[in-house]
């Protein structure tokens, strides 16, 4: 019998600290698979952000730099400009990237930095206990929208992939989900394309992952995973929003 599914090498063999059913674990593994696939273990510099994924460095068998909350895109700019032949990616949550880090991501994208951004949209600030994120859905209850997000006061859930695609400087922009095997397999392919964009020197690539946070959504992992398809995908449509040279996923 042949082993047809195994842990990627670039994923250090330690347990994740994530909550049961948290999609961060899946997304971590997908990133590690890409590092394996493109043999980037020796040339990658990862930029970790502050959020539930702050321990990225404990899990990825590559050089990692910890960025201040929200600044991963600027930090990665410095890294990539200094080491243009290394593979540089950031891994950022929606609080990190779409709230405090808005200016940094918009301008790194607009400059067309040759980096790959893994953006995890779980509609909340996970690590800090489930406060509203810019991506929180209308009506969603969080610890800082106890009566549900009300657009009149809190604004609308921001669609980062669409904003990124609007900027001239971006090369590859997509949104994926890992809430079922089919979406997950598509996400894998999209992530590879994002990696290839950088590897081929084509510029800035951005993949938004819709991700479940069962803990702060106060749902069972199953319920949380289902919510993605039921509530998130209709508002945050999946797909490739921009790419240099199209070729079917």
């Amino acid at each position: 019998m042949k082993q047809i599914f195994k842990r990627p090498k670039a994923l250090v063999d330690v347990p994740f600290h994530f909550c049961p059913g948290c999609h961060h674990g899946i997304i971590h593994r997908l990133v590690a698979e890409c590092i394996d696939r493109y043999k980037l273990r020796g040339s990658t510099i990862g930029v970790a952000s502050v959020g539930c994924s702050v321990f990225l460095y404990d899990y990825m068998d590559v050089d990692v730099l910890e960025a201040p909350h929200g600044r991963a895109a600027a930090v990665a700019t410095g890294v990539k400009r200094a080491c243009p032949s290394n593979f540089v990616f950031t891994y950022q949550g929606d609080g990190d990237l779409a709230a405090i880090g808005t200016a940094e991501i918009v301008h790194a994208a607009n400059r067309g930095e040759h980096i790959t951004v893994v953006f995890v949209n779980n509609t909340v600030f996970g690590m800090t206990g489930g406060q509203m994120a810019p991506t929180t859905m209308e009506g969603q209850e969080t610890t800082t929208t106890p009566f549900g997000r009300e657009p009149g006061t809190n604004g609308y859930p921001i669609k980062m992939a669409e904003v990124m695609a609007e900027l001239t400087g971006t090369t590859f922009v997509a949104r994926v989900a890992v809430d079922n095997p089919k979406n997950l397999m598509r996400a894998k392919k999209v992530l590879r394309r994002a990696f290839e964009t950088q590897i081929k020197g084509k510029g800035f690539s951005f993949v938004e992952f819709l991700s479940a946070c069962p803990t702060n959504w106060k749902m069972s992992p199953e319920r949380a995973t289902r919510r993605i398809g039921e509530e998130m995908v209709p508002y945050f449509p999946l797909g490739i929003f921009k790419e240099d040279n199209a070729s079917g996923v």
Partner: protein
Amino acid sequence: MAEIEFVKGNEAIAMGAIEAGCRFYFGYPITPQNDIPEYMSRHLPEVGGTFIQAESEIASINMMLGAGATGARAMTSSSSPGISLKQEGISYMCGSQIPGVIINMSRSGPGLGGISPSQGDYFQATRGGGHGDYRTIVLAPYSVQENYDLTMKAFDLADKYRNPVVVLGDALLGQMKEPLRRHKYRKKKGEKDWILTGAKGRSPRLLKSLYLSEGELTEHNWRLYRKYQRMKREIMYKVEFLEGAKLVVVAFGSVARILKSTVAMARDKGMKVGLFRPVTLYPFPYAALDKLSHKVRNFMAVELNTGQMVEDVKLAVGHKKNQVDFYGRPPGSIPSPDELLEEIKKVYNKRVKK
């Protein structure tokens, strides 16, 4: 290279940086230091370097954090409000032990204030305006030549201690032009075995400031503290007219430069006044001043603010044992040598001639 050039203070900083091997500059415009990014944008490409005008001061300091983490010599520059915005980043660089050079050609505060010279950022620079226990070496030039020399030195110190280094000038030192003698940079030895370059053929490296297990961060802080203590080796200061001085004026940077004239005038008038100029503001030359305080009883701090460095002077000489007077001129106007002479006279007459 030994030719003498006539150079603006800001440009001397940029020249010193490039000569010292700085190949990455990240900055955001702000008066009165724009000659630095402007010079860098023109001359870095010539040496294969990279100039980036960032979207903000926060982005700049974080780009520098990124470049510094890979071992590159990198610099950012700004002026007071912009430096305030960099404080979180500086705290991170210290926590993660990533070197880099930060130029503050400070201007008037608080708030938008004005664009005239000021020394209102002394506390921020020497105590760390950001959060947590951290320190950066702070170098305070007082001439165009020192702008150049100390910037070069800043890069060596940053690498030596794996820590950001601040060069604290101000609008006066940035705008002033003086003859400058350039010289070749002699590279300090030393491999950087901590830098991020991709983990090819080695185990991965990690640069971070988060330490969560019990006691780990306490230990990390003590380790940093010991490093800051070691920085005392780098203490620099300059003295003038100390012979038989009855009153020692303590000042740094631009106001020290102005006082150079004042003290000479005072000596001409027969007043026994000396000048003590800290060149490293952190670490502060406490010991040297302390030693001096055994011979001289009267000190006077002069600053372009309402009183900041004077606290260090007091800590050094032990006020209540020695006299420490203060004259401050907060920003918005620059005191002339004559005006300062009047202030020194008042103190001299009160303390020495009494």
